[in-house]
């Protein structure tokens, strides 16, 4: 029994049980937070030990779940990366949660929240360790269930229950699909252990391999939030408490990526090139749809949720490139693409959870998420504003932070595809590159809006005006993540080989891991391009310092005069004259009108006396939620129609019931007569 593994179980266990037993209040929250931090640290230590050390850790408990070959854990490098992700985020979210949950003191049961949060982290940590189908599914469904209860903590908010319902339904459908995929694999395997599945997968017919891959893609894609199956994400994440949505967006959707890699890469050992093409297509679609809908959102947490869909799309583009190159036997390029995708997943975990925690402290201070009622928070919440800015820079992919480095790596990993001779690859890569660039640009625009409208200019509501800074533990949580964003960016040269090592060896990926540059300069193994994030950052700082010094010395000695913002001679400036988030996104809504199909309705009620004076104007604009309206709504109505038809069977008349019975008897008897054999 590995020490770290025991510590991790102990940590989360203590947190969960402690939270349940303690009578709420600071002590209860303390225990829960302590459990999360302890468990997270142990998980991180275990994953680093396996990731760097390379020795896979196994643990068999045959007595439990003996119906399907017992409870089996085996942590290899691939699983270790994702376990590290969970550990990495558990610590800041735990620290953050300690104060954030204080606001729930009277209204919701903190004991349930603390316990469920620790169980959520425990099950999420055990998913990458599972080594047979039932353990994997048990932990997977446990993760979904605990996160469902966490989403339901604020049960008296109007649409929380609907959001939780959508979420559980989608995850259950996803589980069913993944279960089918696993079981087809396990059909002719003796036991359901992953080792046997690997051998059984070799003997599967290509048609079956494709079915398993597609089932895994659908099942794990719904958890990752890939476009056709993403509708739960923008509903469930905002409904959950912020540090929970940080964990969900940061880590849980990455476990969908883990599931796909485990089945597609490890168990099936790669497949034909069209797998990659399909992934790239879906990734590109998710990226564009995600960022476009994020731009139009006025609810801060929904904006971040949609941007998670976008970033997962980028990760899937990386994965798709990996599978594509694997299909074309360009294994070196495939390894680089996979490593870039994992690296972006890591970075996204860091900056997305930072942004969610920032949004959480905004919510904590102003009790509202609607950006049109925020503004000027940089004065009330200076620390939160600074951390949110760091997150916004990272997610917009601007140097020198980690978002830029991983997007640069994604670009560079797509490049060899453009040169490859295979027919369909070059146009697909060009599409992927242009989508990558478009989403980067739009993400930058989106996060200028998110940061600018929420934190800068004049507060648009009294709540925003008298907002106060978040407590210390929340700032510490955000601080840890902000530092992580910076460090991951600068330490890319060290991180990439470790990620490549996590994937090497499985599915014909080359074992001697290629170098990603040396010292400070990061370069592609194919020598295609070089750059050094550390030196760029250093240069920026130096030049800013120099500029500041020169201005300080040579510019005028006049003190800075503060006066009102210039407004073409108007007398007073009210917040209503500012640009709101809808206004900020209006040009882009017009540009992409084909996709949004915005409906505008303007209702003006004039002054009773004369038509030239207006009492109030109300402008409402809705954009078309494509997938909800044209994919899910028809599905729900059809099921409802069938159920009305079936309900008519139970019509209440005893005669009808007896007729069913007789029909069944006569039917079976005729069956017997007609087909005696």
């Amino acid at each position: 029994m590995n020490l770290e593994f025991g510590l991790m179980l102990g940590g989360y266990g203590v947190g969960a049980v402690g939270a349940l037993l303690m009578p709420g209040g600071r002590a209860g929250r303390g225990i829960a937070a302590f459990g999360m931090v302890w468990g997270g640290a142990a998980g991180l230590a275990l994953s680093l030990q396996v990731l760097l050390g390379g020795a896979a850790f196994t643990l068999e408990v045959p007595t439990l779940l003996s119906i399907a070959d017992g409870l089996a854990f085996r942590l290899d490098a691939l699983g270790a990366f994702f376990l590290g992700l969970v550990g990495l985020l558990a610590i800041p979210c735990g620290v953050y949660g300690f104060e954030y949950v204080g606001a729930y003191e009277g209204r919701y049961s903190l004991r349930l929240l603390g316990a469920m949060l620790n169980m959520f982290l425990l099950t999420m940590s055990l998913v990458p360790c599972a080594d047979n189908v039932l353990t994997f599914l048990l932990m997977w469904e446990g993760m979904s269930l605990t996160s469902y209860f966490l989403v339901l903590t604020e049960a008296d908010e109007p649409d929380t229950i609907a959001a939780a319902g959508w979420y559980l339904a989608m995850t259950h459908v996803g589980l069913a699909l993944a279960l089918a995929g696993f079981l087809i694999l396990a059909a002719n395997a003796t036991t359901t252990a992953f080792g046997d599945l690997r051998t059984a997968a070799a003997s599967l017919t290509p048609a079956m391999r494709n079915t398993v891959f597609l089932l895994a893609l659908a099942g794990f894609g719904s958890k990752a939030g890939i476009v056709p199956l993403h509708v739960w994400l923008p509903r469930a994440h905002p409904a959950a408490p912020s540090h929970v949505s940080a964990l969900m967006s940061g880590v849980m959707i990455k476990l969908g990526v883990y599931g796909l890699l485990r089945i597609g890469l490890d168990l099936l050992g790669g497949g034909p090139a069209w797998w990659g093409a399909l992934l790239i297509g879906l990734g590109a679609l998710s990226a564009v749809v995600g960022v476009l809908y994020a731009l139009m959102e006025n609810d801060l947490k929904r904006l971040l949720a949609y941007s998670s869909v976008e970033n997962i799309g980028l990760v899937f583009i990386g994965l798709g490139a990996g599978f594509l190159f694997l299909g074309l036997d360009a294994t070196a390029a495939a390894l680089v693409a996979f490593a870039a995708a994992l690296y972006h997943a890591l970075n996204h975990a860091a900056f997305k959870s930072l942004l969610f925690l920032g949004a959480g402290s905004v919510l904590h201070a102003t009790r509202t998420r609607d950006m049109n009622r925020l503004g000027g928070l940089i004065r009330g919440l200076p620390w939160t504003a600074a951390f949110f800015l760091v997150g916004a820079l990272a997610i917009a992919g601007l140097p020198p932070l980690n978002g830029f480095v991983s997007e640069w790596l994604l670009f560079q990993s797509l490049l060899p595809g453009i040169e490859s001779r295979a027919p369909m690859v070059a146009p697909l890569m060009t599409l992927a590159v242009s989508v990558l660039a478009l989403t980067a640009g739009l993400a930058a625009a989106g996060f200028v809006k998110a940061f600018g409208i929420t934190f800068l200019a004049i507060p648009r509501s009294p709540a925003a005006e008298c907002a106060h800074e978040a407590p210390v533990s929340m700032r510490v949580g955000m601080g840890i993540l902000a530092v992580a964003c910076a460090v991951f960016g600068l330490a890319a040269v060290a991180i990439m080989p470790a990620l490549a090592a996590a994937l090497a060896g499985s599915a014909r990926l080359p074992v001697p891991v290629p170098g990603f540059g040396s010292g400070v300069s990061l370069s592609m193994p194919s020598g295609f391009a070089r750059m050094s994030p550390t030196l760029v950052a250093l240069g920026l700082i130096l030049i800013t310092g120099a500029a500041w010094l020169v201005v300080r010395l040579f510019a005028s000695r006049w003190p800075v005069r503060v006066s009102a913002t210039w407004g073409c001679g108007r007398v007073v400036q009210t917040p209503r004259m500012e640009y709101t988030s809808t206004a900020f996104a209006e040009p882009l809504r017009r540009v992409f009108a084909e996709l949004y199909r915005p409906t505008q309705d303007l209702s003006i009620d004039f002054h009773p006396e004369s038509r030239y004076f207006v009492q109030s104007i109300e402008y409402r604009s809705e954009i078309v939620p494509w997938f909800e309206r044209y994919l899910y709504a028809p599905l729900v109505t059809r099921v409802r129609r069938w159920s009305i038809w079936v309900r008519a069977l139970q019509s209440g008349s005893a005669h009808a019931y007896l007729t069913y019975l007789v029909i069944a008897l006569l039917g079976l008897l005729t069956l017997l007569i007609v087909r005696p054999g």
């Binding site: 940089i378 040169e419 882009l588």
Partner: protein
């Protein structure tokens, strides 16, 4: 030795940039039969602005004051990476064309935030339009880069220039021409030249770049104006040296450096003339026609990429 040239190159860029802007303004005035302000007028403006008093809005936060420095720093950082005079520069390993593009996006990002901060409608309008144009220009820039990278086998600027210098026929290859066209349109969009944004006027409906900097004054405005001029200089240098690299010194001797400076000046003057003529000939596009222009440039870049890997 290389490092000295690197700093010199950056200093040259900083020095020449306002002059370039002044040259374009002067050429436009001459084309409109006006005497126009002398070419070095922008230098006087910058000197004046540095001395003038700074007025800051009461709504603005620390970001409003930090933004000009970051904008200026990120633009000047780019001048170290772009091959203005010589090619195998020690800093070439620091960043390739993607880093250049993203540094410029960083400066636009902070400029927009600076515009939003005072809370005036002009700032908001400018920021929103600037980010829209920047976002739509991104895919074109990325594809144009890849067209060049395919031909040169790497996205590092030094290698692109060296490779294009190596075989003269490359310039006339369709990939290059299309990429040049695409990048030219993007230059007009990014630096706020006429068809997209009118640098001369302060008319609310038309200005994008000016609207963001409306609130700035004194030394902050000077930094921002200078950064805008340097950005223009960078784009012209990129257009010049990446596509017509002859004259960039490969082996570092005083003569080749002199030749490099001369060729650089000639290219800049020619490009300035082209832009000036263009700005006097065509009127400003309505803002919601700008995406059509950018999609034209995107199609050009797409054709550039397809032609480069079809011919390979």
């Amino acid at each position: 030795m290389g490092y000295v040239l690197e700093v010199a190159q950056a200093a040259l860029a900083l020095a020449l940039a306002p002059g370039l802007a002044g040259l374009i303004r002067w050429l436009k005035a001459r084309l409109q039969n006006r005497r126009g302000a002398p070419v070095w007028q922008p230098y006087w403006e910058l000197a004046k602005l540095f001395q003038k008093e700074v007025v800051v809005s009461s709504n603005a936060s620390w970001l409003f004051r930090a933004a000009p420095f970051i904008v200026f720093a990120s633009t000047t950082a780019v001048t170290f990476l772009v091959p203005i005079l010589a090619v195998p520069l020690p800093f070439d390993g620091l960043g390739d064309l993607l880093v250049v593009v993203y540094l410029l996006l960083l400066s636009t990002f902070f400029l927009s935030l600076g515009g939003l901060d005072p809370g005036s409608p002009f700032g908001g309008m400018g920021a929103s339009r600037e980010m829209t144009v920047a976002a739509l220009a991104e895919p074109t820039v990325a594809l144009a880069i890849f067209a060049l990278a395919l031909a040169a086998g790497s996205t590092n600027l030094g290698q692109i220039v060296a490779r294009t210098m190596a075989d003269p026929g490359a310039f006339l290859s369709p990939g290059h021409l299309l990429a040049f066209g695409a990048l030219f349109i993007v230059t007009l969009a990014e630096t706020g030249r006429l068809p997209i944004d009118n640098p001369a006027t302060h008319l609310e409906l038309t200005m994008i770049h000016e609207a963001m900097v409306l609130e700035y004054s004194g030394r902050y405005l000077a930094l921002i104006e200078w950064a805008a001029a340097v950005k223009l200089f960078i784009f012209f240098a990129l257009l010049g040296n990446l596509f017509i690299p002859w004259g960039v010194s490969v082996v570092l001797t005083p003569t080749t450096v002199a030749v490099a400076v001369a060729s650089l000046l000639v290219k800049l003057v020619v490009l300035a003339a082209v832009v000036a003529v263009l700005e006097t000939r065509i009127a400003k596009l309505r803002l919601f026609r700008v995406p059509e222009l950018l999609s034209v440039s995107f199609v050009l870049a797409l054709l550039a990429v397809t032609s480069s890997f079809l011919l390979k």
